[in-house]
Amino acid sequence: MKAYLVLSNGAIFEGESLGSSAEIAGEVVFNTGMTGYQEILTDPSYAGQIVNFTYPMIGNYGINEDDFESDRLQPAGVIVHEACETPSNWRSNKSFAQLLEERGMTGIQGIDTRAVTRLIRGGGATMGLVTTDLDGAIERLSKTKTYDETDFVGRVSTRTPYVWGHYGREKLGEWDEGDYRGRIIALDCGLKYNILRRFAALGVKTMVVPATTPAEEILEWNPDAVLLSPGPGDPARLGNVVQTVRDLLDVKPLFGICLGNQLLCHALGGHTFKLKFGHRGSNHPVKDLLDGTVTITSQNHGYAVDPDSLAGTEAEITQVNLNDGTVEGIRAKNLRASSIQYHPEAAPGPWDSRKYFVQFVEEMVR
């Protein structure tokens, strides 16, 4: 079936419907990774967005049982140049299109995704509509609530707490059981499973709690530290979560990833701003200002910490992006809080920054 991608600047791309043909709207963003579509499809930080894959052949190695980063398909929709119908990999049990059909996600293929990327690069992230009905599409798009006005954390955060240990997901009652180096609570604003897997691999048990959980409740579980998770949307909208972070500062060691970096920034009195088109891909170089090394990182964020806003706060900048100089990590040493803007858990992307999990756990158990 013919389908169209309509952008808020009036650009229209014609392609073929992929997966569900239901009309969807969202913020169109691009990801430059050459692998990792399954992880991207299930990353909660893509909620509300239409992901445009720059790699032109998506689905080559199929979909498997293991590489899901959450239980749901998270983006509003996907744009691909060509979806591979006959994947090849020993773990694959279905094709990209089959997964979209099964889970009812809207996609479009046959699109010049490079042209879409160039439009976003020039004009910034923009709202878009994927539809099979071009009549009045631009009007419908203009009436859609924009990405920045929407609270996505509430949609993707877990409803009930759960625990993750050596053998994966466990019941809440098992929080105190087993032999672990430490126990942390993850404030779930859009957590990826690989964060839990990384902690488990280091002998740490994690309890995942809803983003709305107040500090007192978290402290009742007596964790060794609190993790501020990644997640979608504008951090400036998350006043209540920022308050929770503020309440926990100096009480428990804090470690933030992605949105967690921005939440820590707000809690320390700083501000964030929206990047023109964000960083999404597996090849972003980040310089650690503390030791001078550069690490290739996996990134997925549309907002960034405003470095000037940190002046006079407890926060110091620890890492910067080598390409555009944006803040990639901060810490408040005296308050035992640190965070990074990219994804040390990878999935998808390079494993080079796993060392930050190790560092954090070492500091926590010290």
């Binding site: 990774g33 692998t35 032109p56 052949m57 006959t86 690069r121 090849n283 290739i296 998808p348 992307g349």
Partner: protein, 546 residues
């Protein structure tokens, strides 16, 4: 440090694709950009490297210790850069160091230390290092004389692979299926190896062959430029294999598992510059083996450079004189640094070019010794289109997947043509698929991954439709047929109007604007070459024996 001596590649021989001229030329330019005076010694006048404007002084002299010493005595360079002239340059630099000549004239060896090169190239030292860092290597035996060879004849599992150390393009290597073959090939290999050293190892025939091009600077920053997946599975030299970039059948976890291994290896070796890591990957599990490391700029680096836009030799040269990756600009974007990993938004297909048309009586069978003398690289948005473009660029009789020789073969004979790797096997595989043999049946014979076979089926489906006059012009253009091919295949019944546009190779999948990209043609609507004066690149011209 003011003056640097660069050793060139010498004569271009079978087993090379002129890559060392490319690398050396880039390096000379790069060093001069940094303000160094460059002295070049190379015996081959038919190279770009020996053009007057490449270096400050060019010596066209034999690449021997004797002549090299004379140049050193006369020019008194402060440094010597040996890692860009291929094996010839490396061997010469090693001899100059061992004979005390570098010390005598106070010449510093730049780039990767010789000890690291030794560790990477000496089979025994390399395997010891891999064991130390817990990277898997296939079980193997090292022999240094005929007595040792005789001792292991009964221990080795067949088929096994014979690899002589310190030879170019794996000269003298091969596969042995029996004791007798091992004895014969082994004895020959011992004679050809510069150090009289052979490695005999378990055969990984049928495993996927994957390569990573990686770089490291003196501070330990490591990056991957590109990975590549061989169409031909293990058993065919990667120089004789059809190669795609990036890998197509590795999931994100597999891609990064192998990337992590490659970076671990380059760190453990202490490479400063570019390096190529070859891995064998089990198609049915997470198992892999490290096969080999080229601790220098190689044929694969030249391919990876052109495939990604990332100038590996140029950056390697800057690393050799002490710069770090975060201090070197990415010259393609002009705004970002060389410390990043290229993102491709297209598919690369490399086809080797063999000299069998010139050596009609040559043995066309391919194994671990490289026989190709050149290659073509094609870029397009899909594998199908890139493959078709590459075939047309190859300057052979075949312009698509049809080959009269195989069309004439009976099934049994065709089966053998698919099973035994030769320069023409791709066409035999296509003929098998054309006869309706299933992907699994063909795969059983050639061990080529299903993904590639299905893509070939996609092209063959169009071929069939065109031959029966179906109006599939658009689909045919999409899989890479040209309008004239479409007209010919359909007997004039299908007329196609192509809409070729040019897209950029910009290292970053268009995330950043680019200053000096290059272009490839594809069917599409948005043309990026309209505003700038770029050179459209169809397929790189063939380099072949004339």
């Amino acid at each position: 440090m003011k003056k640097i001596l660069v050793i060139g590649s010498g004569p271009i021989v079978i087993g090379q694709a002129a890559e060392f001229d490319y690398a050396g030329t880039q390096a000379c330019k790069s060093l001069r950009e940094e303000g160094y005076s460059v002295v070049l010694i190379n015996s081959n006048p038919a190279t770009i490297m020996t053009d007057e404007e490449t270096a400050d002084a060019v010596y066209i002299e034999p690449l021997t210790v004797e002549f090299c010493e004379r140049v050193i005595a006369r020019e008194r360079p402060d440094g010597l850069l040996p890692t860009l002239g291929g094996q010839t340059g490396l061997n010469l630099a090693t001899q100059l160091a061992q004979q005390g000549i570098l010390q005598k004239y106070n010449v510093t060896l730049l780039g990767t230390p010789l000890s690291a090169i030794q560790k990477a190239e000496d089979r025994q030292e390399f395997r010891a290092l891999m064991r130390e860092i817990k990277e898997p290597v296939p079980e193997s035996w090292i022999v240094e004389n005929e007595d040792q060879l005789a001792e292991i004849l009964d221990l080795v599992p067949f088929p096994c692979i014979i690899r002589p150390a310190y030879t170019l393009g794996g000269t003298g290597g091969g596969i042995a299926n029996t004791r007798e073959e091992l004895w014969e090939t082994g004895r020959k290999g011992l004679k050809l190896s510069m150090r009289s050293q052979l490695m005999i190892e378990r055969s990984l025939l049928g495993w996927k062959e994957v390569e990573y091009e990686v770089m490291r600077d003196k501070k330990g920053n490591c990056i991957t430029i590109c990975n590549m997946e061989n169409f031909d599975p293990m058993g065919v030299h990667t120089g004789d294999s059809i190669v795609v970039a990036p890998s197509q059948t590795l999931s994100d976890i597999e891609y990064h598992m192998l990337r992590t291994a490659s970076l671990k290896i380059i760190r453990a070796l202490g490479i400063e510059g570019g390096c190529n890591v070859q891995l064998a990957v089990n198609p049915d599990s997470f198992d892999y083996y490290v096969i080999e490391v080229n601790p220098r700029v190689s044929r694969s680096s030249a391919l990876a450079s052109k495939a990604t836009g990332y100038p590996i030799a140029r950056v390697s040269a800057k690393i050799a004189v002490g710069k770090t990756l975060d201090e070197i600009e990415n010259p393609v974007t002009g705004t970002t640094m060389a410390c990043f990993e290229p993102a491709l938004d297209y598919c690369i297909v490399k086809l080797p070019r063999w000299p069998f048309d010139k050596f009609a009586s040559g043995d066309r069978t391919l194994f671990t010794q490289m026989k190709a003398t050149g290659e073509v690289m094609a870029i397009d948005r899909t594998f199908e289109a890139a493959l078709m473009k590459a075939i047309r660029g190859l300057e052979v009789k075949q312009k698509d997947l049809r080959h009269a020789k195989f069309q004439a073969q009976a099934d049994e004979e065709l089966g053998e043509s698919i099973r035994i790797p030769t320069d023409e096997r791709m066409w035999a595989i296509a003929e098998g698929l054309r006869r309706g043999w299933t992907v699994d049946a063909v795969r059983k014979l050639c061990r080529v991954d299903r993904w590639f076979l299905v893509k070939m089926q996609n092209i063959l489906a169009i071929e069939k439709q065109l031959q029966s006059g179906e109006q599939v012009a658009e689909q045919a253009l999409k899989v890479g047929y040209s309008p004239s091919q479409i007209l010919e295949l359909s007997g004039g019944r299908v007329v196609a109007q192509d809409h070729l546009v040019y897209k950029m190779v910009d290292t970053c999948a268009s995330e950043f604007e680019s200053q000096t990209p290059y272009y490839y043609a594809t069917q599409g609507t948005e043309d990026e070459a309209t505003q700038s004066l770029g050179t459209p690149l169809q397929a790189t011209p063939v380099f072949s024996v004339t």
